[in-house]
């Protein structure tokens, strides 16, 4: 197992290098640059800026330079926000996105999964239909609609929660609900169908034939087997959530990574885009590793060596 984990961690190196390479090439493929303005600057100034940020070198030299510095923990400086390093920007934005993401993830896991379990156990009853109806709606409505509705009712009309910002707990409530609702619904549906499939299995009938009380059959023989597909999807979702959701962060004016990502692409702030891409892919790779390790615990047929 330890060997397997080490091997997987070593594998992240080529993955990250490739991610950086592709981000690099894609950024270069977009017309314009960080110093392109509506009113064009004198050529001499642009040349100076390009030289200052190393943009005058051929792309492979830039790539090599970037990797060389990044390995030493230096992700460069922002090209549009003067004097700020990428590390400090990401260092501020990442924890914010992570809190928002983890909150929404917890919502999906602790509300969505149990809802799915209950719906499956009450299959074809009104509780099942209500749960599935609500979940379908929850999954179908995008953040861009949920978020303004939440703000309108809970902030503007009833004044229960602040409408924007981040920091104290009460500011976190609405964004977490806005971002988490869709995924809660999604996980409720996923868990329900996984449970229904497991309930059909022969070994569940065996457990029942042993005379186990139904609760024990569900707890011991159904839940764990049903969680395998849930874990599969939860890993990448966690990666996706903690790296920021642009829409939610934008609507609630949250200084997280999602916003920076979009802004820096628009501004061609190459070093920030690359820095965020590296963090994002590292988190996703890590989340997948966690999923694969969890698999080993959930399903003994999977063994790593």
């Amino acid at each position: 197992m330890a060997k397997y984990i080490i091997r997987r961690i070593l594998w992240t190196i080529p993955v990250l290098l490739t991610v950086v390479l592709f981000s690099f090439l894609l950024m270069k493929a977009i017309p314009g640059g960080p110093f392109t303005r509506e009113v064009s600057l004198p050529q001499q100034i642009v040349d100076n800026l390009n030289e200052k940020y190393g943009l005058d070198a051929p792309w492979y030299t830039q790539y090599a330079r970037y990797v060389y510095h990044a390995v030493q923990g230096d992700l460069g400086v922002s090209m549009t926000q003067r004097g700020r390093t990428v590390t400090s920007i990401v260092g501020n934005a990442f924890p914010v996105s992570m809190q928002l993401g983890l909150g929404s993830f917890a919502l999906a896991m602790f509300i969505g999964v149990p809802l799915g379990v209950i719906a499956a156990l009450r299959h074809n009853s009104w509780a099942d239909y209500v749960a599935i109806f609500v979940a379908s709606i929850g999954w179908a409505i995008p953040v861009i609609i949920i978020a303004p509705l939440l703000i309108y009712f809970f902030s503007v009309r009833w004044n229960w929660f602040p409408a924007f910002g981040w920091g104290d707990t009460e500011r976190m409530v609405l964004p977490i609900i806005a971002l988490g609702t869709g995924f809660t619904a999604y996980f409720a549906r996923l868990t329900r169908s996984a449970m229904l499939e497991t309930l059909q299995q022969d070994y569940v009938r065996t457990a029942k034939a042993k005379g186990l009380p139904w609760g024990k059959v569900v707890w011991r023989h159904v839940l764990r087997n049903s969680l395998i597909p849930v874990v599969t999807q939860a890993g990448p979702l966690l990666g996706f959530l903690v790296t920021g959701s642009f829409l939610t962060e934008y609507i609630f004016s949250i200084p997280g990574m999602g916003r920076y990502f979009v802004d820096s692409v628009t501004n061609r702030d190459y070093s920030i885009v690359l820095g965020l891409a590296v963090i994002l892919s590292a988190v996703i790779v890590f989340a997948n590793l966690v999923v694969d390790i969890l698999y080993g615990f959930l399903d003994p047929r999977i063994r790593y060596d």
Partner: protein, 329 residues
């Protein structure tokens, strides 16, 4: 003395979107203590559903017992509460299923799955149940039992898994063992081993057995009595020797004709039964076997033959207008 198990006019139907499936349609039989009853019939004739109904292991809904009694030691299980059933399942009546590859939970250790029933029904501690599990695994012929307690099902072969299933079924010393196609999913050589094992354990534990199979060869050596089912109904019922020596129903004859015999002197082509098992949503009128029966006449289409004692032998019931002796007269 009363029978251990007495089934009276049992009907189990499934209420599906396509219509009502008459899976079990009025069957009656008895099993006595320590005896073996074989239930034979082709796939889809209702034999498994009938057996599962005894412990209410069919999905309800869509399944429902629409009529009949299941008397186990005189108590009607159709009226038993879920709680009462739980104390009977795995304890007084145990069951072995067809496919050992899917009947064990892939994520739980063998020892745990074996111990589960004993801890519930016999109130054993974890340690006691583990010890007993080793004894049971020895008894069903699993080599190096103690070392295999912590293995998972995928580390066992099909035959070994079926032995685990048997050990599990025997763990609480049941009075009745229901074996639903226990050998169907196994290699032929393993089949014989499992049947021998069941027979030997039956003597050892003194339990009654309900052996459900489509394979007459499997029941021949083990059963005291045999029930032949077709399309949810019993067509012939008698003791094993009589059934093999003096089959009366054309369906039984056809089933017997489809097994090769070692003592045959000349080569013959194995007979098969033309057509497919009937649709249980709209079963054929009259005798349900008539569309496939070569002796069928108008009465078979119009009227259902009763399952009645046949004048040749006592306790030999047959449901046919043209049973063999009547044809030969």
């Amino acid at each position: 003395m009363s029978h251990l198990l007495e089934i009276n006019n049992l009907r189990t139907h499934f209420f599906t979107r396509e219509g009502v499936v008459h899976a079990v349609d009025g069957i009656s039989y008895t099993v006595d203590r320590g005896k073996t009853l074989g239930i034979v019939g082709e796939s889809g004739c209702g034999k498994s559903v009938g057996a599962m109904t005894i412990m209410k292991l069919i999905p309800m809904p869509p399944g429902r017992i629409v009529e009949g009694e299941i008397l186990f030691e005189g108590k009607d299980l159709t009226k038993a509460s879920e709680r009462q059933l739980q104390s009977i399942r795995g304890n007084d009546i145990a069951m072995i299923f067809q496919d050992p590859m899917t009947s064990l939970n892939p994520v739980l250790r063998i020892g745990y799955q074996l111990a589960e029933g004993m801890r519930i029904h016999l109130g054993m501690s974890k340690q006691e149940a583990r010890e007993r599990a080793v004894e049971l695994m020895d008894a069903v012929g699993i080599p190096a039992a103690r070392n295999r307690l912590d293995d998972f099902p995928h580390q066992f072969s099909g035959g070994m898994r079926q032995r685990v299933m048997i050990a599990m079924a025997l763990s609480c010393d049941p009075k009745l063992l229901i074996a639903d196609e226990p050998t169907t999913a196994l290699d032929v050589t393993i089949q014989a081993q499992i049947i021998d094992l069941l027979e030997q354990l039956q003597d050892q534990f003194g339990m009654a057995m309900l052996l459900i199979t489509h394979d007459l060869g499997v029941v021949a050596g083990v059963s005291d009595d045999i029930v032949v089912m077709y399309a949810g109904k019993i067509v012939e019922q008698t003791d094993t020797e009589e059934l093999f020596g003096n089959p009366q129903h054309p369906y039984t004859e056809a089933l017997l004709g489809s097994i090769p015999r070692l003592d045959e002197t000349h080569r013959r082509e194995l007979a098969n039964i033309a057509g497919l098992p009937p649709d249980l949503v709209n079963p054929p009128s009259g005798c349900r076997f008539h569309p496939r029966c070569r002796y069928a006449t108008q009465i078979c289409v119009d009227k259902e033959p009763p399952l009645a004692p046949y004048n040749g032998g006592p306790g030999h019931l047959v449901a046919c207008w043209h049973y063999r002796d009547s044809r030969e007269k």
